[in-house]
């Protein structure tokens, strides 16, 4: 398979790689960079477990994104949210509200929430539920996840829910 040279800035760290042109961003992150905080759930863009943020707070499905197309981009995985030993308010809200069960959807769910709250600081419950569509959780019935997003919105932006 033909290869190409790319540079990725993952959680503010620069990586220069030669990757086959058909290699997905998910494969590069998990296999080549050992960033196993990004999860494989379906490989078809249906479950959201592989969600990462690109260039700030745009969520993308890394299983459907060719690594070559992410050349030069800044990528945030859930491991990049914790700063100076302090959890991101969204991470803290997920813990506080008991929104984590098996944890497999959690990295994608947290990143989706971060991106969502960046665009809508004071969402209604309906907006939160719509915003989470595309990220599947089979453990929680979404109830405590929705509560965590509400809590994070209040704490992060001082917004009202």
């Amino acid at each position: 398979m033909k290869k190409c040279s790319i540079t990725l800035y993952v959680n503010d760290k620069k990586h220069s790689l030669d990757v086959p042109v058909n290699r997905t961003l998910l494969q590069v992150l998990r296999e080549d960079l050992a960033m196993t905080d990004v999860k494989y759930g379906c490989g078809a863009g249906e479950c959201g477990a592989c969600t990462v943020l690109i260039d700030g707070d745009t969520p993308i499905l890394s299983c459907l994104t060719l690594a070559a197309l992410a050349d030069g981009k800044h990528i945030t995985t859930v491991a990049g949210l914790e700063k100076d030993g302090k959890l991101h308010p969204v991470q803290q809200a997920f813990i506080d509200e008991g929104a984590i069960q098996c944890g497999y959807c959690t990295p994608g769910m947290v990143l989706k929430t971060v991106s969502f709250l960046a665009k809508n600081a004071a969402p209604t419950e309906e907006e939160i539920r719509k915003g989470l569509e595309g990220n599947i959780c089979r453990c929680t019935g979404y109830e405590k996840i929705v509560k965590a997003v509400q809590q994070a919105a209040i704490k992060k932006e001082g917004g009202k829910v």
Partner: protein, 784 residues
């Protein structure tokens, strides 16, 4: 009961931080130097076929391929992926007819994606390229998708041990007339004023745990087979692998990784035999096998679908004089847990209401779908759907309020539970029904909805549920816990109980800390090493907190007793005069007379002579205790579920409004986890009854093995969820707790179906109740 300081508190789960930071290690996250990749090559084109030619030579030549394994290159021993054989006596196993009919790689494909060979390669890509070079030819066989088809006398036989393709029926010696129940059902029916009867269909639901199956294995240089897996049952998989590969148990180790959801999907073995066979073929190298989502879907076990006939006789006043039922399930291609669900489906029926007489028959037939195994509820959702609908049909005919009927006729304390002869020790179902009805506004809504006329019709339905906390006395319930106190009087609690994400390890840590009187941070649960911990059945039958908690209490009480006895000798006082607070042990009436717990534990471990006296102080030896625990009961929990929804009579579409669960928990050890179990259970239960089914085409090829075509309820589809926890401590459960793992999924099945009935006056007999089925039913009814 005295006040509890840790049990019942809303503390963060012990595994929450590692999960929210992405640091929790699931099996597919493991990396080892020189790790190889394994791929199971599957038959995708046929659901039933003989392999007539298998040529692996071209695949073996692909660069990066280490080895290709056909059926003859691995042990020819067969196995049973289920575990019931390890939970009953050998005699009972024979009686039930458990068989081992699964090969590691097969030449008789019995369902789509049956594994035919394996590839081991340096990279995943090389393994995939090699898979394309496998030369295989098949002789297609007739495909059987229902019991009616496979029981045909001319049908191809799945196993010589199961003539007529009948995998199971309740065996005569244990179940006279192949039936479970009591009383004279035929005589009971004679006395009935009203008989309701129908045949229902319950669907093949998929667990859809978010972590697809993945495994790592190595046959190491000491001749030990090591397997990393997110199995629900590390100790039983350990025993099964030892048996399959004919190794002493000391030469096998199962490392349980973080479990990314299970719901029964990891009960027993799934891909462990294949990855371990690969490891045995290439000693000294780690091999990773990662299932693709589609593989997970079509090659690992699902819920048992089937036809469920039921007939109930009532007196005019609502007295249920007799119940007769027969559930025929479609087993799929292999036997696995053939005896389990066919029995329990009737057991949950027996545990629910006070029928004058009951007769349940259960059987299952091989079919060419992925085998059916364990799925949350284990037959209970299947029973809930027909039972609760027929009860409501009778209530409607007899003009009795469905909540009042259930309050009057549900089984209660002292009645036989699901295992006849085993009496209910606690039951708060009446309170569940009352509080649930009051909170959701049952009476007002029923009255209001009876007078609707518009296009959109609302409905509210109720259903009840009984389940269990562990599967004794039907199956073995055994958990071993060791507790050791370190020098600083912190406690290492060693056990093999699994946490499937539901919070069991948090709850068990709370129970240990509460019993020891230590803070949470002074208790560590050592889990996940099948060779370090004592026996444990594993996570099934909603048992972990109930049975594991009982075992933890027993071992911790022993340790605490030893600690206090040593302190009494150290303080030269009577043990009964001592109390411990903040890990200081002192005489109740003379608090100055005190010693730190860590002084006692250190003296036991660092047992050296005192330089002044020349003798060691204190008692020798590390304080340690162990419990090999068999619970005295199975303390069934109960619940009442209310579902409110709206039906669009023009399109058949359903909109969910609210689902309320009033739950008889005994005691909530970790309330957020209990609520989480109920919320998640309701999502799956509503899915089972309204949207979820794995479909096959006429050739037995799966049509919806993905999250787009298989519809689960998403965040916007979910109704408002309300949980009411009734805490009336059970006499046997740890701190009064009963189970909550499987139960949330059960009664939404009946409650949602009854809400549809309430909305449009029609009962839909085939689950899932899709808009198409509603529309069809409406068109067939003159009122619409």
């Amino acid at each position: 009961m005295s006040e509890l300081s840790i049990v019942g508190k809303r503390i963060p789960k012990i595994d929450a931080k590692e999960k929210v930071c992405g640091r929790a290690v699931y099996a597919a996250d493991l990396r080892f130097p020189g790790m190889l990749y394994g791929k199971i090559v599957r038959c995708w084109a046929h659901a039933h076929a003989k392999v007539t030619k298998l040529d692996l030579s071209e695949a073996a030549k692909v660069p990066g391929v280490i080895k290709v394994l056909g059926p003859g290159d691995v042990t020819r021993k067969t196995y049973n992926a289920g575990v019931l054989d390890l939970m009953v006596s050998e005699k009972m196993g024979k009686l039930l007819g458990d068989i081992e009919d699964q090969p590691i790689f097969t030449d008789h494909v019995k369902h789509q994606a049956d594994g035919i060979c394996g590839i081991i390669a340096e990279t995943e890509e090389a393994a995939e390229r090699a898979a394309e070079k496998i030369i295989v030819e098949y002789e297609p066989l007739p495909v059987y998708l229902t019991a009616e088809e496979s029981k045909n006398p001319d049908a191809v036989q799945f196993s010589p041990l199961k003539p007529g393709n009948k995998a199971f029926e309740l065996p005569e010696p244990a179940f006279p007339n192949n039936a479970y129940g009591w009383g004279d059902v035929d005589a009971g029916m004679e006395k009935a004023d009203l008989i309701v009867e129908d045949t229902f269909y319950v669907p093949k639901q998929k667990q859809c745990q978010m972590e697809p199956h993945a495994y790592v294995a190595i046959y190491d240089d000491r001749g030990r087979l090591n397997c990393w897996t997110s199995t629900q049952m590390p100790k039983l998989v350990h025993a099964k692998l030892a048996r399959l590969f004919e190794l002493p148990m000391t030469r096998v180790k199962v490392n349980q990784t973080i479990v990314g959801g299970a719901f029964g999907a990891r009960l027993g073995m799934i891909g462990e035999p294949q990855v371990c066979a690969m490891a045995m073929a290439i000693p000294g190298r780690h091999i990773l096998v990662q299932y693709l989502r589609e593989e997970d879907w079509v090659a690992s076990e699902s819920r048992h679908p089937g036809n469920y006939w039921m007939k109930i006789g009532f007196k005019k006043d609502g007295t249920p004089v007799a119940l007769d039922a027969h559930f025929t399930s479609y087993k799929g291609g292999y036997y696995t847990q053939g005896s389990g669900v066919a029995f329990t489906t009737g057991a949950w029926l027996a545990g629910m209401y006070k029928y004058g007489a009951m007769r349940y028959r259960g059987d299952s037939y091989y079919t060419n779908q992925v085998p059916c195994g364990a799925y949350r509820g284990y037959g209970n959702p299947q029973t809930n759907f027909p039972l609760e609908q027929l009860v409501d049909r009778a209530c409607n005919e007899l003009k009795i309020d469905p909540v009042e009927w259930r309050k009057k006729w549900h089984k209660d304390v002292g009645d036989d539970g699901w295992c006849l002869g085993f009496k209910y020790p606690s039951c708060a179902l009446t309170e569940c029904l009352e509080k649930g009805a009051e909170t959701i506004g049952w009476k007002e809504k029923r009255k209001k909805y009876a007078e609707q006329t518009g296009i959109k019709r609302r409905g509210i339905g109720v259903a009840c549920m009984n389940h269990t906390s562990g599967a004794m006395p039907m199956l073995l319930e055994h958990t071993v816990v060791s507790v050791r106190l370190n020098e600083d009087a912190s406690a290492e609690v060693i056990l093999s109980c699994s946490d499937l994400g539901c919070g069991a390890h948090t709850a068990l840590t709370q129970i240990a800390a509460e019993t020891l009187g230590f803070p949470m941070e002074d208790v560590h649960l050592l889990t996940g090493n099948s060779d370090a911990s004592g026996f444990d059945i594993g996570a099934h039958a909603s048992r972990t907190t109930y049975v594991g908690g009982g075992a933890v209490i027993q071992a911790c009480e022993d340790v605490k007793k030893q600690l206090l006895e040593r302190a009494a000798r150290y303080l030269e006082t009577d043990v009964d005069s001592l109390v411990m607070e903040d890990k200081t042990i002192f005489v109740k009436d003379d608090p100055e007379k005190a010693v730190d717990a860590k002084t006692i534990t250190t003296l036991g471990i660092v047992y050296v002579p005192d330089p002044e006296t020349g003798k060691p102080e204190g008692d020798p030896g590390q304080i340690e205790a162990y419990a090999s625990y068999l619970p005295p009961h199975n303390s069934p929990p109960f619940s009442a579920c209310f579902v409110e929804l709206e039906v669009d009579t023009e399109t058949g579409e359903l909109k969910l409004i609210e689902a309320l669960t009033a739950y008889d928990i005994g005691r909530a050890i970790h309330p957020p986890s209990v609520e989480g179990q109920l919320d998640g259970g309701v999502q799956q239960g509503l899915g089972n009854v309204l949207t979820e089914e794995t479909y096959y085409d006429k050739n037995g090829l799966c049509l919806n093995s993905n999250f787009t075509d298989y519809k689960m309820l998403g965040p916007s589809d979910m109704p408002k969820l309300t949980n009411i926890l009734i805490e009336d401590p059970d006499p046997h459960g740890p701190y009064g707790a009963k189970s909550c793992g499987e139960e949330g999924i059960v009664p939404p099945n009946g409650a949602a179906a009854n809400a549809v009935y309430n909305a449009i006056g029609i009962q839909i007999k085939e689950a899932p109740i899709t808009p198409e089925k509603i529309l069809k039913a409406l068109k067939e009814t003159k009122n619409f």
